[in-house]
């Protein structure tokens, strides 16, 4: 049940001992990067000042802005001729960022992904289809190399073309699929249209879902629709990509591989560590990477460490499912709201479909929220529709403390999205 028992079954003291060794090695490596050399000097810090894991807190945080400011190679800790691959973010929100990999980095990345896939029961003999975009997006090549490392037959179907995707699943006997959660729902809809019953007509058994925050209700829906077990995957391009944290068969939190990363959870405002078990921003330090190590990288993802031991026998701690991002938080009438809170409520109504859209507008100085959601089955009954609308509104208000305008839509009226689903549209104008 363990692909790397020597790492996966380490006790806490053994993990921490390994982490300190690898941290110190990483910091020595960082001194070859112009960026970290300058950072340490500015902070009056020398590598030998880091003598314990607690000393990590002396090191300043690294942010996405740092990656942008030092675009493209300013954080490289190896000569460029040792770099064999780079991945870059799209740069839609500013200058793109670049992550560099040596051959060893790519090998270790593939090992981490293979470990995750093995953990949820995938083996040589499985047929693994990946519906991620390939190229710069790390969900493509990341899963590709990890799945090949395990010896599975891989189908790099890539994103889009849903009918072809389904044809592959059917014709090749795909047993495991990687898809973002909103796309899993889309696949099911198109299967229905094509008259395909996923239980009867396919061999799908395992689904890997990630990249979008989603609720447990949404996962259960996907499992019921497709007749699979669905496991939550967490990764980000700054930390290589997929393979950072993954659910085990217990499906209760994502084990983060602490032989690769040191985990901290901090308050996004004060940047102080939050008490054990409380929600805050995830901060990661890479301790198994050579081309571009990152120290105390602020991921902007909000989560918490789940307290207690996991029945699977791994002592690598578990992250709770992502609560959203510290930067996709909406502030409405002074209230902090995360889209996932709204999703959790909507998913409890069996009358509603999987797609929804939150629109923020303002009239004078008044913020307004509209929640549009698709109705699964339509019956000609105004009274029922009104009652349903009222009940959704009431439950949302209880959760987010403001009253949204709830709009029920006919099935299929929200724009279909093949990439990361856009759940929030902020059309508010600044009134200054």
């Amino acid at each position: 049940m363990y692909l790397h028992p020597e790492m996966e079954t380490l006790s806490r003291p053994e993990i921490e001992k390994l982490q300190l060794e690898r941290l110190q090695k990483t910091i020595r490596q960082c001194m070859r990067s112009p960026f970290y050399k300058r950072r340490f000097k500015e902070a009056g810090l020398r590598p030998e000042d880091i003598r314990s894991l607690g000393d990590l807190q002396k090191i300043p945080f690294t942010t996405k802005q740092d990656l942008r400011d030092n675009y493209p190679f300013g954080l490289s800790a190896v000569p460029l001729e040792q770099v064999v691959r780079l991945h870059s973010s799209s740069g839609t929100t500013g200058t793109p960022t670049v992550i560099l990999h040596t051959q060893r980095d790519l090998d270790e990345w593939a090992n981490a992904v293979a470990r995750c896939l093995y953990m949820v029961g995938l083996r040589k003999g499985d047929i693994f289809q990946n519906s991620s975009g390939y190229g710069m997006f790390t969900g493509g090549l990341g899963f590709q190399y990890g799945a090949e490392r395990l010896g599975m037959l891989t189908v790099p179907a890539a994103a889009g073309n849903t009918k072809r995707q389904i044809k592959f699943i059917k014709d090749f006997g795909t047993t495991a699929l990687h898809a973002i959660p909103s796309y899993a729902g889309r696949l099911y809809e198109v299967m229905e249209e094509m008259g395909i019953d996923p239980r009867r007509d396919t061999h799908l058994r395992t689904l890997i879902i990630g990249a979008e925050p989603h609720s447990d209700e949404q996962r259960r829906r996907i499992e019921n629709m497709l007749g699979v077990k669905a496991y939550n995957s967490f990764g980000m391009s700054e930390m290589c990509g997929p393979g950072v944290a993954f659910e085990c068969p217990e499906q209760n939190g994502l084990h983060i591989w602490e032989d690769y990363y040191i985990v901290e959870i901090v308050d996004p405002q004060t940047l102080e560590p939050v008490p054990e078990g409380e929600v805050g921003e995830l901060v990661l330090t890479t301790i198994n990477r050579e081309a571009m190590p990152l120290l105390r990288y602020r991921t902007r993802d909000l989560t918490r460490i789940l307290p207690g031991e996991c029945a699977c026998g791994r002592h690598h701690r578990r992250l709770d499912r992502m609560k959203g991002r510290s930067d996709d938080m909406m502030i409405l009438k002074g209230v902090n709201i995360f889209p996932i809170q709204i999703e959790n409520i909507l998913m409890q109504f069996k009358e509603l479909g999987n797609d929804y859209l939150i629109t923020l507008t303002n009239l004078e100085a008044n913020d307004e929220m509209t929640v549009e959601v698709e109705l699964n089955d339509f019956t000609d009954d105004y009274g029922f529709l009104q009652k349903l609308t009222k009940e959704i509104t009431r439950q949302l208000k209880d959760e987010i403390l403001i009253t949204p305008r709830v709009k029920l839509l006919p099935k299929g009226s929200l724009p279909k999205q093949e990439g990361k689903a856009v759940r929030v549209k902020d059309l508010r104008k600044t009134l200054i």
Partner: protein, 142 residues
């Protein structure tokens, strides 16, 4: 005693009504009567047409949210006061009208409606000898 009514759930957005009508046109389905009420959030477009079952299948296949329901259709002589007489029968029997629309066909007035008590409505129609149309007659009258 009832006829099929096709109900379509449409978003309050330009072009959605036309889309439904184009689909019915392509399927060569004739509208006999239809009604739509204005609400801010969503609209229900109710249709009496030739071949309601085929119309329903046509819309379903195009991914349109639609449903079929049974409604009453009674005929009235084309004279003042006939609608009042008919509704009086239901009101006296304590039956509530959920919605109602009317049209003229082959010189007859036709009231289409749904009530909050289908069983009782049937009894009143028979007891008071109100004349009602069957679906096949309705299509013949067009």
């Amino acid at each position: 005693m009832t006829i099929h009514q096709l109900s379509v759930f449409i978003e309050n957005k330009s072009g959605t009504l036309l889309q439904v009508l184009e689909l019915l046109k392509e399927a060569n389905i004739q509208l006999i009567a239809s009604t739509i009420s204005d609400t801010v959030e969503y609209g229900i477009y109710r249709i009496i047409c030739s071949e309601p079952l085929r119309a329903y299948e046509t819309l379903k296949q195009a991914g349109i949210s639609a449903s079929l329901s049974d409604v009453f259709a009674i005929t009235l002589d084309n004279q003042p006061g006939r609608a009042a007489d008919a509704i009086r029968s239901f009101t006296r029997a304590g039956i509530g009208i959920s919605y109602l629309y009317s049209f003229l066909l082959a010189g007859k007035g036709i009231l289409v409606f749904r009530t909050d008590d289908t069983g009782k409505t049937r009894e009143v129609i028979l007891r008071d000898r109100l004349s009602y149309v069957e679906e096949k007659d309705l299509i013949r009258m067009v």
